[in-house]
């Protein structure tokens, strides 16, 4: 960083070594999973004795992997609906919080972010109790309601950051020129906060797609979700198709990350 003395050099070296280890720990497992998905072995031996596309073939086989495909379809549908619901709710809340300096806004912001810290497993169980108390049978809609609560804070964070940067003068001049609030929102506000909204929607989508604690309690045989199905495959007989499914998920996540980063600066938004 700067001019180093002897003791400084040792400290800088230690920091560099730990940072390199941190990078290795972060990225290594992702590479390990990708390599394992091509293994010829029935067991999870690493490094793999040989390479094959066999597990991908089995994973994409419509008959033998029908259950996985159905779970993936359910997960994608729920994640899409969750992203829409969470983004719409969070956009309204973000605009309200950004435009108000009152005490309630600070309180509401804290309350809206609470699902991020409260244990997901407690909320999952609570949601199951609540819906069974209301005599509602398991359905994808209940999963959307549960996922949207967990996804809300992710959307609110990025949309809130965008909304906080809005210039009030722009909104006032739009109103002064006779635009209705809805027209101001469509023509002035939304275009300005769009990158934050898109990033928020994406994070809400991913949070639903990966959700375990809520799906654990709310999914059923008919509303099976992908992470729960993969967990079942990991718990019982170790099925190497999990590796192929993981390979697909990693590839999709990496592609989406690059696309969303180019489009709306996702990485910068997540680290600010």
């Amino acid at each position: 960083m700067h001019r180093f003395s002897g003791g400084d050099k040792a400290l800088a070296l230690l920091i560099m070594a730990l940072a390199a280890l941190a990078l290795l720990v972060l990225v290594g497992p992702v590479l390990v999973v990708l390599i394992t998905s091509f293994t010829t072995s029935q067991a999870l031996r690493f490094p793999p004795p040989g390479l094959t596309l066999r597990w991908y073939q089995e994973l994409f086989d419509p008959v033998r992997s029908a259950q996985i495909h159905r779970a993936a379809g359910n997960s994608l549908l729920v994640a899409t609906l969750t992203a829409i619901a969470a983004t719409a709710l969070a956009t309204g809340a973000a605009l309200a919080i950004a435009r108000s300096r009152a005490g309630w806004a600070r309180f509401a912001e804290g309350a809206f972010m609470a699902p991020l810290v409260l244990p997901g497993i407690a909320f999952g169980l609570a949601a199951l109790m609540f819906f069974s108390w209301l005599h509602l049978p398991p359905s994808l809609w209940l999963l959307v309601a549960g996922h949207a609560m967990i996804a809300g804070p992710f959307a609110l964070r990025t949309i809130g950051a965008s909304a906080a940067g809005l210039d009030p003068a722009l909104l006032e001049s739009s109103a002064a020129l006779g635009a209705s609030p809805w027209r101001t929102f469509r023509r002035v506000v939304l275009p300005l906060i769009m990158p934050g909204v898109a990033a928020g929607a994406f994070l809400a989508f991913v949070s639903s797609l990966d959700n375990v604690p809520v799906s654990l309690f709310l999914s059923s045989a008919q509303t099976d979700m992908l992470p729960i199905r993969l967990w079942g495959m990991m718990e019982t007989a170790l099925d190497v198709r999990v590796a192929a499914a993981s390979g697909v998920l990693v590839a999709v996540a990496f592609t989406l990350l690059l696309v969303m980063d180019r489009a709306v600066g996702l990485v910068r938004r997540m680290s600010a």
Binding site: A19, V30, A90, I121, A127, F185, P227, M234, V250, V267
Partner: protein, 276 residues
């Protein structure tokens, strides 16, 4: 969109959260003080079973210990990486950020699965150790606490790293130059300038890692399991296998109360540090 009446825009989320978040949690609390899931009669039976059973107490301690270990392990690696990010050029910065975000976007099931491959009997660590002749037989890493902490270090590290990087980004580079030019050693600059400014990020990261590691049902079960029991597995078993909902509710609330207490303590710590 005048500022007056703007609060109405927050109403839909507020109502949704009351209905689908607050109401279920209230029912959870009610169920824990009841004889059965239909809230027929109030009873302290579930809470007596949680507090009076050493097995349950030990599971709660295991869970909190796991959260604390995960916080320490992620901080040990994330703080140096955040410092490297602060000192790095644009290309390395980008690599570090992508490395931080990518695991966050891949399912926790995938991240857990990769650690089975790494920690298993024929996994990466054992084949490496045996290849180097450091051990003759595979060592047990799966179903051990240190194996689980190692896995959680990766699984939860982004939650520590991103708030740290965000906090460090607010440091004025001129401040570092000033400290160095005034003769401050690297150690002094880090201790007196960088770390105090990084503290809010560290505390935010610690809260997120603790909350996430203590509730990480799948990682705890698939990697850790074994002889150590953790609260999320007990919550799940009692709710879905034994169908003792009051007991499951009392355990879930125990977990929630512990996480909230730790989050509150960390936030107090942050406030104290700011005033010091």
């Amino acid at each position: 969109m005048e500022a007056r009446g703007v609060w109405r825009l927050a109403l839909p989320l507020g109502i949704a959260q009351l209905l689908f978040f607050a109401a279920p949690l209230l029912l959870l609390a009610g169920t824990s003080f009841s004889t059965d899931e239909n809230l027929t009669q109030t009873s302290l039976r579930a809470w007596r079973e949680v507090v009076g059973d050493t097995f349950h107490i030990q599971s709660a301690i295991n869970t909190l210990r796991l959260g604390a270990l995960a916080v320490c392990a992620t901080a040990l690696l994330a703080v140096p990486l955040a410092l490297l990010h602060l000192a790095a050029g644009p290309v390395l910065r980008r690599i570090i950020l992508i490395a931080a975000v990518l695991p966050l976007l891949t399912s926790v099931v995938v991240r857990t699965f990769s650690w089975i491959v790494i920690l298993g009997r024929e996994g990466l660590i054992n084949t490496t150790l045996m290849g180097l002749g450091l051990t003759s037989a595979p060592i047990a890493l799966l179903q051990t606490e240190h194996g689980l902490v190692l896995a959680l270090t990766q699984i939860e590290m982004p939650l520590m790293l991103l708030p740290l990087i965000a906090a460090l980004a607010r440091i004025d580079p001129a401040l570092l130059d000033a400290s160095a030019s005034l003769g401050g050693s690297l150690f002094r600059t880090l201790r007196r300038v960088v770390l105090p400014l990084a503290l809010p990020g560290l505390l935010a990261g610690a809260t997120l890692v603790f909350a996430s590691a203590t509730t990480a049902f799948i990682s705890q079960g698939v990697i850790g399991g074994g002889r150590l029991n953790y609260l999320p597995a007990l919550v799940w078993q009692n709710a879905m296998v034994v169908f003792d909902w009051p007991l499951a509710a009392a355990m879930a609330l125990t977990l929630m109360a512990s996480v909230l207490m730790v989050a509150g303590l960390l936030s107090l710590l942050g406030r104290g540090a700011r005033h010091a």
